[in-house]
Symmetry: C2
């Protein structure tokens, strides 16, 4: 590795949300960071925000390619050639396509370890950058057989230094996993929400919290998601094909029931579809990545006025109860809300009693 008189430096290519946030976090942690962007204005903006310097002498020890996904592979290949002593990583949300691109370019894969910090915001660009963006988030590392120990170790160390939790997967494992837990849910939320586009106003008025939850992520950016989905086309296609097969079974069962209300087997198909959803849902990790926990929900009616939620939470705090999850729902056409407070089962009675003592109306 090239020895430089300056302290070990991290060079970040692409000063969008992820690149700028990483620069801020590493600078804060005392690392020396340099920044580069195809737009020198963008790079200067990230520098002015405190994400790093825009020029330096000597070679970096680590290059982080944080460009849009469609140019990631070529940027990584160029970086590997430009700095023959440096480790290179990227942060694209699809990993197999990057490796394929590097192999076809004959890149030195020993110094490359792909990665995917599972952090983001609705906003993009350098000004949206935050030094704590990676705190408590998973950062998946996707080494291949060619990846050297030094490359893997350096990327893992940098990820941990900004507060992320390192998870290691093969690139195709990563892509298959995000197809199931991220890309397909995104697409199905969009397809469900699309049913509402031309629905009568009086029908949309019946929307409830279930629909809001299912479709929340349907507000996502079409341009970004087109890049992500097309970059992970085969893994997403495979999961969607399995879903489409189940969907066809459900449609066939409903068609049969429309003709013969007692058609044998049709109700079984519907029940199995819902039951398989129960089984899949039960596998989703709960808080802190731990095994899912069954919490008890305490429901409280809250007047819709300034300070009422503050008063509620001060009262919850006074009972000494730790809140696991909190959800606020608003009734249709009514000037009050319903707060759902999830706590461990042993804490529910004390919380409910404490809130009733303090004048709160419980609901359920």
């Amino acid at each position: 590795m090239t020895q430089s008189p300056a302290p070990a430096r991290v060079h970040i290519i692409g000063t969008g949300l992820i690149g700028t946030s990483l620069g801020l976090a590493l600078s804060q942690a005392g690392r020396r960071v340099t920044l580069e962007d195809i737009s020198s204005t963008n790079a200067a903006l990230a520098r002015d925000l405190g994400a790093g310097e825009t020029s330096a002498e000597g070679d970096p020890v680590l290059v982080v390619v944080a460009t849009p996904p469609d140019v990631t592979a070529s940027c990584v290949a160029v970086a590997l050639e430009r700095w023959p002593g440096a480790v290179v990583t990227d942060v694209a949300s699809v990993k197999g396509a990057v490796i394929d691109g590097l192999r076809s370019r004959g890149a030195d894969l020993a110094r490359f370890c792909g990665s995917h910090p599972m952090a983001g915001r609705e906003r993009s660009g350098a000004v949206a950058g935050r030094q704590d963006l990676f705190h408590g988030r998973a950062w998946v590392l996707t080494p291949t057989a060619e990846t050297g120990d030094a490359a893997y170790g350096l990327v893992a160390e940098v990820a941990r230094s900004v507060g992320a939790e390192v998870i290691t997967l093969a690139p195709d494992e990563h892509d298959a996993a995000v197809a199931s837990v991220s890309h397909v849910p995104q697409l199905m939320a969009s397809l469900v929400a699309a049913r509402l586009e031309h629905l009568a106003e009086s029908s949309v008025a019946l929307s409830g919290q279930g629909l809001r939850d299912v479709t929340r992520i349907a507000a996502s950016d079409p341009h970004l998601w087109t890049q992500i989905l097309s970059g992970n086309a085969s893994a997403v296609r495979e999961v969607l094909a399995s879903l489409a097969t189940d969907l066809e079974g459900v449609i066939a069962a409903l068609t049969t029931l429309g003709v013969d209300d007692d058609a044998p087997g049709a109700r079984g198909t519907l029940a199995r579809a819902i039951a398989a959803g129960n089984a899949g849902h039960a596998r989703i990790p709960g808080k802190h990545g731990a095994a899912p926990t069954a919490y008890t929900t305490v429901r409280v009616l809250i007047p819709d006025e300034p300070g009422q939620l503050g008063r509620l939470f001060a009262d919850v705090g006074a009972t000494g109860t730790n809140i696991e999850e909190f959800h606020l729902d608003h009734g249709l056409g009514q000037a009050f809300g319903l707060a759902e407070i999830d706590v461990v089962p042993g804490a529910a009675t004390a919380l409910a009693d404490g809130l009733e003592e303090r004048g709160w109306r419980l609901h359920g």
Copy 2:
């Protein structure tokens, strides 16, 4: 209408969650309520909980059939014959099938007005009953051309008297609406969650908040949902068929991209699917059934210790800010959470400044 010496009485058939809750709410509002259940033990339990009496002289003015959906039509038909002066309603979540059942039985439809209170809980049965279950919820009335004004008026008055918001739709409009806003979202949440059933543990570990939101309702009861879906088979089938067509288009686009990364039109198909989801999502009513509002989100890092959320909300209350929505997220493997507080855009800066002054770390 039969004149009875006792005050006008509401008779409830079926003392499960909805029947018992309605009995509690009407009794609380000063109405006389009688209860009936195929299980006399169930009826006695609801009576002991305060939902009404189990015997009475004279005829009721209103009969509410709150049985499981598969026996609703026959119970309504029997009630119309048994009390020739009474108005009858039901509370099943699918309306067309009830009307069809009544027509085939030659029932007196002038005294019938179907309805659907859009309220529920995860728990069922009389002991789960709550007098405030209908507060602020929509209660859809589905009169037909035969429904008399007196029948419609009485059911509407009773729904309003327990705090519900009355919405009037034709039975088939109701069924088409709930197919789009409730039944199809439920089914798709189940199908998405089912993809996780046999996924590797290391893949499930990448689950994030988006997946949790999309699949929250996948925990629902297969038995109940089989009844609901089969009772609304044709409307659900129609919406699912349109979704399946879009899904096939997406799968075809992904298949094409897997072969030719520059296939013309394939990216357009993906972008249009996500964009249509944007458009549908934008139509979902926000708080209080009003038009959707764009809120500004203030994100706050909170230590995962008892009382910290209480302190946060007390501080939010001290700034005088009204919270529109609140969401709590937990980072993977980390001992702190991220609170997302939605407020009207004009209130965001004051809230953020106020929280920072009080020592909170903002995140984005």
